[in-house]
Amino acid sequence: MGKYIIRRLLWMIPVILGVAVFIFTIMYWVPGDPAQLILGAEGTPETIAELREKMGLNEPYGVQLVRYLKQVFIEFNFGESYFTRRSVGGELIARIPRTVALGISSMLLTILVGTPLGIMAAVYQNRIPDRICMIIALIGVSMPAFWMALMLVIVFSVRLGILPAQGIDGVSSYILPILSLSFAGWGSQARMSRSAMLEVIRSDYVTTASAKGLTQREVIFKHALPNAMIPIITSAGGQLAHVFGGSAVIENVFSIPGVGNYMIQAINTRDYPIVEGSVIFLAIVFAICMLLVDIGYAFADPRIKAQYVGRNSKRKVAAND
């Protein structure tokens, strides 16, 4: 298992490298000249050209790419913002905890609410609990996150005055953003969980377990759920993309100074180092989360774990021989 994790970690390197090349290339080709944006209306062709030279933007694509990759992967330096001259790495370190807190909390809430909703819907298929759960799920996937955010603000901040509308003054400031971000995920997580459970519930071994006289609780949690976990874990992993992608919008709505907010501003101003640094960071986060999902598979499904244990055992036997 340890070797499997190490191998996956090593595979992350070319993935992150690929993402870095991809985002650099996109930013290279996208219209918009950062030198012109920095100088604004005062920029003349001569001053713009001079600034582009200073910023190294006149060099060929290959030269710029190699310089950037060397800077990021060898020197571990994301560079400085074109506009503010502040270290991109320093800013990301300050902002990462907020985005991660928002993202992880939203994902956990999605799993903790969506999965039981789906299980309940499957167990009580075609009955009232199933209908109610699916209505909630449908509302969740239909409502845009930013609209849900503003509705929650109107209800809880403006009308009731019990939660802050924006900012990061304390734990209570994160309640509405987490709810907004996770709400859409409840729907898809519930639907996936329901679908996975229904497939398992119809299996012969579950019928046998029921016939043996086990309680419904034992049947669901000891026999059905463990076998339904693989697609549920897969769905949870997919929620990560939604959560971290949607966090940019939610951070903007709630004025949370996270990575998403940082990146959106930088895209509008063509602040390449910030955009590239933020995307690479998000790629690292995704890669780690996908690794955790894969590890989760190994714990959820003994067959997958046995594969790795089996391989190791065979190697040990061969080595002893």
């Binding site: 604004g40 920029g43 062709p45 001053t47 502040r86 800013e91 509308a165 509008n268 101003t269």
Partner: protein, 568 residues
């Protein structure tokens, strides 16, 4: 059967709820006109240009007043105010641009300049400098006061001024400071500055936009003032949580001890200013409603209804920037023909656009200039400036060889903002009426800023121009050049006569009414650009404000020198 009916009913209900939520999002804009007029009648006070104050007649009992003051006083007796800003400044360095205008707002509170430009009076007033003297066409002596200290107690001399200005010039985002050729201290408190050319407005910009600081404070800063600014103003930075908020506190050791010598912008009427960074306008409105902030700025008129009560005051200021249509005047575009450009101008009713886009809250523009410009003349308003005349527009198009069987097709490029998009749609409708087919090309800000210098990307483009300059010739600079290859030209114009006229206007010797008027008429007669309108900016405050002051033609807040109920 039951299941089918239920499922279908569920689907219909879901669709209705999605539609209802979409309608909810747009309802505000549909009722915007009624909202604005209601708010306009009830609460809006003051229509002003520039840096002048609006006195507020607050009807408060003594108890209410005391409660408000107590709510805005810290435990150690310092008054504070909370102000919403739309973005984190990114940097508080005195050079270059941070992100948006917020850097400028906070820099104004921390740093001072040699002089200050008062838009309302269209003149420069003394600040750190007591005055200046022109030595020759490009050289000036600037005289500084001898008792200026920064917030760290460092004494400011001419050497510090030279250092500040040359740092600004040598920064890679030197902006207006790039016009400095040389600066030297000729005595302890006098700086001789030589400009690169006699271009109008460049010396004045150094005076009112060249932030000044001491060499000692700059050397002591670990990051060249990016997060550790030290200026000579009454305020210092005490806290900055990136993306969340910035706090400035008044020092009690300002260098100017004689209050009678204060200019308006030296006032410091509150001890602590908390700038709360709230990126979304809807959230700023909510923060104002919940009392989290005491001032919000640049509010759209559709949001005014919520403040139509005695707890708030709404100030309106005419935006100094002009929404303007600019043409591609090269041979690559149908707009290269002056008759086509004039036809487009005659097809448009700018007042109609203002009525629809801004509910009439604003003013039709009459030139690429405003009353605040030192070189715009009242007589310019007298000329006939392309009032809507559909028949004339059709006649001009026919003369240019276009008609029903051969319509003009143009591409309109604009940055997608809440004002530009509806303006473009209305323009499209007006032009369709005279037989001009308009292809829309909306793009985001950075793309627009780049493409507007490229003649192949548009036949006409639309954006906000001018506003903060003391001279309107500064905005006309963008019309000179050699056209397609000259990236400094936003109308792809290759007109040697235009270039000659603009360069003459830029020369301080020939920058006079005769040359300016001739240039204005030339631009207008050739319809190189078509100014559309200026819209209202709204500022909303709680009842702690007894006098509102705004900067830069109403485009920037200045909470430090507003007056509050505790100042009365």
């Amino acid at each position: 059967m039951k299941k089918t009916i239920f499922t279908r009913t569920l689907a219909v209900l879901s669709a209705v709820s999605v539609l209802a939520s979409s309608a909810g999002c747009t309802a505000k804009s549909q009722t915007g006109e009624a909202d604005a007029s209601k708010a306009t009648a009830a609460e809006i006070i003051g229509v002003s240009e520039g840096d002048s104050g609006f006195k507020v007649e607050l009807e408060q009992t003594d108890d209410e007043r005391e409660q408000l003051i107590a709510a805005h006083t810290t435990q150690d007796g310092r008054t504070f105010v909370n102000v919403a800003v739309e973005a984190d400044p990114g940097t508080l360095s005195p050079f270059g641009s941070g992100v948006g205008k917020v850097q400028h707002v906070i820099r104004n509170a921390l740093f001072e300049t040699a002089m200050v430009y008062v838009l309302a009076d269209a003149k420069l007033e003394p600040y750190l400098a007591s005055g200046y003297e022109q030595v020759d066409d490009v050289t000036y002596d600037v005289f500084f006061k001898d008792y200026i200290y920064d917030t760290e107690g460092n004494h400011l001399t001419a050497e510090d001024v030279v250092f500040s200005w040359l740092c600004g010039r040598d920064d890679w985002n030197s902006g207006n400071m790039s016009f400095i050729e040389k600066a030297e201290a000729i005595d302890t408190y006098t700086v001789r500055i030589t400009m690169k050319s006699a271009r109008v407005g460049t010396f004045e910009k150094v005076l009112y936009e060249g932030w000044i600081f001491t060499k000692a404070a700059y050397a002591a800063s670990p990051d060249t003032f990016i997060t550790t600014p030290v200026g000579t103003s009454q305020y210092r930075l005490v806290k900055w949580e990136t993306g969340s908020g910035i706090t400035l506190e008044k020092t009690n050791d300002y260098w100017e001890k004689d209050h009678d010598k204060f200019s308006l912008i030296q006032e410091a009427n509150v001890d602590v200013i908390n700038y709360k960074i709230i990126t979304e306008e809807a959230q700023r409105v909510i923060a104002m409603q919940t009392g989290e902030v005491d001032m919000i700025h640049k509010v759209d008129f559709t949001n005014l209804e919520a403040f139509n009560n005695d707890n708030y005051t709404v100030f309106s200021t005419l935006n100094n920037q002009i929404m303007q249509l600019m043409f591609n005047c090269s041979a690559y575009s149908p707009c290269g023909d002056v008759r086509v450009r004039q036809a487009i101008c005659y097809a448009i009713d700018a007042a109609g656009i203002l009525d629809v886009v801004c509910s009439g809250q604003g003013e039709v523009a009459w030139a690429t200039a405003t009353e605040g410009s030192m070189d715009a003349y009242e007589t310019w308003k007298d000329r006939d400036f392309y009032g809507q005349d559909v028949e004339k527009a059709r006649a001009l198009l026919a003369e240019a060889g276009y008609g029903a069987g051969n319509p003009v097709k143009v591409k309109l490029m604009y940055e997608t903002t809440d004002k530009n998009a509806p303006t473009a749609e209305i323009l499209q409708a007006y032009l369709m009426d005279v037989g001009i087919e308009v292809e829309m090309f909306p793009c985001e800000g950075a793309t627009y800023s780049t493409y507007k210098y490229g003649s192949t990307e548009f036949d006409m483009h639309m954006g906000s121009v001018g506003g903060l300059e003391p001279y309107c010739i500064t905005a006309w600079w963008d019309y000179k050049g050699s056209g397609i290859d000259d990236k400094g030209n936003v109308i792809a114009l290759d007109d040697a006569e235009m270039t000659r006229m603009i360069e003459e206007c830029y020369d301080s010797v020939t920058h006079d009414e005769e040359h300016m008027t001739a240039t204005f008429h030339y631009i207008t007669d050739n319809a190189y650009v078509y100014p559309l309108y200026r819209y209202m900016l709204y500022t909303i405050t709680s009842n702690i404000y007894s006098n509102m002051n705004l900067r830069c033609g109403g485009r920037e807040i200045a909470p430090q020198y507003c007056r509050y109920i505790w100042n009365e």
